[in-house]
Symmetry: C2
Subunit: 294 residues, 2 copies
């Protein structure tokens, strides 16, 4: 067998790519969510289905799955036990299950040193220097994910209630949000009680939009988020000549707000996270010496 | 019938007091939770049971409940509909359902003008000047309750993760909390996902304790909470000669931290919330002119 699989699984879908040992992708497949924390059996099913579709897409016999090595990047791997449980039931010849951030880092940086900041609904920061990796954040909406969209949305809604109570002045943004909720603060409280992080995150682009037009509350919320991102980057202790890639749904909105120092380090990612998983698989399992055993 | 009922219902218990038209309490009763948002039928049951026990305690015939007027202070009355639904099924002759904060204000201030700040797991602020009442806060753990114990606990746990990631320096307090969770930040994330506001609030006394001993993170968290309380008090626009009562489980810990201006206004409450409900009932239903109809 001279092929490898890269797999990128998340809460909404699972993507697989079949590639040569040189890392050239020859087939792709996509299936449903692969959340190993909430549904391990369903995640396994969708991982295998995406891999099967990648074989079909490449015109290859999908029964060869059991003879193929795979690198998987999945959300939730840092919570104890799930990763080992999944590795035990995967049908591939050899499997390496990593976090979604690790394959994103490998995709963005290739084999270079540097750092990534993934800023979407949540936030996580990673750096690599040789074999040394450092991860910051990624602790989720309630206590972490600082600078991410969900925290921006939550911060906004808190500011709307604070303005409603005349504790601090409101702005066009808080008035617009209050109008969106029919002028009733209790509707905001009900929304918050029923919402997932992504629902809060849906407000983030609006906040950037108002902040760009000088809205006082919007500017305060964004300044706080950007400050949180910068503090996390500071903790990575990057050298000025290092590469920094901003990834995730808010990357393009956060990037122009960063301080000069970090803007100078920004480079576009080489590949996406799936490409990172493929590259890792080719490097790990395709090397002439036989590669590692995961 | 020359008796009135005051009732104080909350998430853990319901208390009733039977009183003369002059407001003198002659019997008391206590039953289970009266949370009208989560269990209206159960709340009605416990309200009636507490009232019945108050009649028994006073040596009175409890079938007289249907001939007795009542003032009830209950959590959750500001969320649309529950209050009207409850009033429709109560067995008293006339019923006035108010928020728990309104009866607390009447208990603390009597008939005087002034303000209260209830700071326990959550936070809410109210002032009265003649017939005019103003309420600030009370929007719950996710977006409000600033300065309350649950927000203090949540803020602490966020600081512990931030210190774990070396984003900001830790302290004896963050080390103690991390040790409490076995040194594993994922245990903190799991705790947060499974916890109710009161669980977060359980950390608040610890934060005050460390802050009093000069702990840097503890002091920062408490300073933020006290700042939030002061901002809310500022929004009530109190005059220097007005009375301010601090109520709730954290009142004694917050009071010494307030600025001189507010410390000078502090007075002990005249009565607790149940006493406030009784006074309101006596005033409203016991007046010779027959009182209001609720």
């Amino acid at each position: 067998m001279n092929l490898v699989l890269g797999i990128d699984g998340g809460g909404t879908s699972c993507r697989a790519a079949l590639a040569t040992l040189a890392g050239d992708i020859i087939g792709r497949g996509k299936s449903g969510p692969a959340n190993i924390m909430t549904d391990l059996t369903g995640a396994r099913h969708n991982i295998v289905e995406a891999a099967r579709l990648a074989f079909v897409d490449a015109g290859k016999d999908s029964t060869m799955i059991s003879a193929t090595d795979a690198v998987l990047g999945l959300a939730g791997t840092n919570v104890g036990g799930y990763r080992q449980q999944l590795e035990a039931v995967l049908p591939f010849r050899r499997s390496l299950v990593e976090s979604d951030a690790v394959i994103a880092l490998n995709g963005a940086l290739g084999e270079r040193d540097g750092a990534i900041a993934i800023i979407g609904t949540g936030s996580i920061f990673m750096s690599r220097k040789g074999a040394a990796m450092q991860t910051i954040g990624g602790w989720g909406f309630m206590l972490g994910d600082l600078g991410g969209g969900a925290r921006i949305g939550r911060d906004l809604l808190q500011e709307v209630l604070v303005a409603h109570d005349d504790i601090r002045p409101g702005s066009e943004l808080t008035h617009a949000v209050m109008a969106h909720f029919g002028g009733d603060p209790r509707e905001i409280v009900k929304f918050a009680a029923a919402s997932k992080p992504a629902d809060f995150g849906n407000f983030a682009p609006l906040v950037f939009d108002f902040a760009a037009r000088g809205d006082s509350v919007g500017s305060r919320v964004i300044a706080r988020a950007v400050g949180d991102v910068e503090e996390a980057l500071d903790a990575l202790k990057l050298e000025p000549d290092q590469i920094l890639c901003l990834l995730g749904g808010l990357a393009a909105l956060i990037a122009p707000q960063l301080s000069h120092r970090y803007r100078m380090m920004l480079r576009p990612p080489l590949q996406d996270a799936l490409g990172g998983a493929v590259s890792m698989a080719a490097r790990l399992f395709g090397a002439p010496k036989g590669g590692a055993d995961g």
